[in-house]
Symmetry: C2
Subunit: 211 residues, 2 copies
């Protein structure tokens, strides 16, 4: 009924120290918000139990990944812990934004910061943090995926990553999962009402001003 | 539990052509969102049936209003339809923001634009628009408060006011009331997570980086 406001799709970059509950939150967010899709990352690491190629990641060889780098197919990529490549391909993002679909990019803090520095992509960035370093440790231990050494390494990385908080647009503390989800939803929904993102503003003016 | 993020209160300026449902939406918003308060405006117009002094408005004489102008007590004020003064007093806003309480200012488009131009106040602005000019007319007729001439005058004003849309941060189309309310809530909640508004960022860094 009446005029319809058309907005461009927005790219949301979501980062967090590992163990902050980011993956769970993103999964829930995608289920609850329409018109929001996930950008599947490319990686050279091995799939973990239960991970599906083309759903959780595109699992590719180091050679394939480096080929894509050469062909300028990535918006961003990074080598994590000097070991595996992770990257976001342009084919996962731009065509959706043009259709007015919002896209979520789940990347590590290093990758997020790289995109911010480059400044060639428009996005809204969200940093999810655990309520405390003690709680982060407890969660990493509880999920039982990593060795003691691996957990110590993740905690050191987390301490370092928190310093990047000030570069992000929004922060969400994941203390109670449901509250954190509500906050994330609000941020996505709110951005859809941003005047700067309206594509048919002239049409709206016309409707209201012409007799 | 753990760290607590403290943010400054935010001033939300909400404007709309009359008949857009702004007052109803603001009333509902205040009921549903914690830590959000309404800035009561001063005006020289007569109270309408049911309006309470100190709740809906502070009803003052023209002499009192002009005294307050002289004493620099207003953040903004305007004379609407060359007839009545409307203004927002500093005492309604600043002390709340300092306490971390968000404040809603309900002002006409002229007043909102005046504040934007001055640039001496931080705020987030929201423009509520009806789904169409036909629907706006229908609502003005239906509420039965104004004469035919008055309605025509309001429609002309509305057509003029819509042109200010591009100066606002957010737009909410009030087609279905419940949807418009959800959008407004999202905008307010989202802004509470803005990193730039964090007051204790150093404390957060400290918690996470100190062993």
């Amino acid at each position: 009924m009446g005029i319809e406001i058309k907005t461009k799709g927005e790219l949301f970059i979501i980062s967090a120290p590992s163990g902050s509950g980011k993956s769970t939150l993103i999964k829930m967010l995608l289920e609850e918000v329409n018109n929001l899709e996930y950008s599947i990352s490319y990686t050279t690491r091995e799939p973990r139990a239960g991970e599906v190629n083309g759903k959780d990641y595109f699992f590719v060889s180091e050679k394939e990944f480096e080929e894509m780098i050469k062909d300028n197919e990535f918006i961003e990529y990074a080598r994590v812990f000097d070991k595996f490549y992770y990257g976001t391909a342009k084919n996962q993002v731009y065509s959706r934004l043009e259709k007015g679909i919002d896209v979520i990019m789940d990347i590590d803090v290093q990758g997020a910061y790289q995109i911010m520095q480059k400044g060639n992509v428009d996005f809204t960035s969200i940093f999810i943090i655990p309520p405390s370093i003690e709680e982060l440790k407890r969660r990493l231990v509880e999920r039982g995926r990593d060795s003691v050494e691996e957990i110590e390494k993740r905690l050191i990385t987390a301490r370092d990553e928190i310093k990047y908080l000030r570069h992000f647009d929004f922060v969400v503390v994941n203390d109670i999962l449901e509250d954190a989800l509500k906050s994330l939803k609000s941020i996505v929904v709110s951005e859809r009402h941003r005047v700067l993102r309206i594509e048919n503003i002239y049409e709206i003016y016309k409707h209201f001003t012409e007799e």
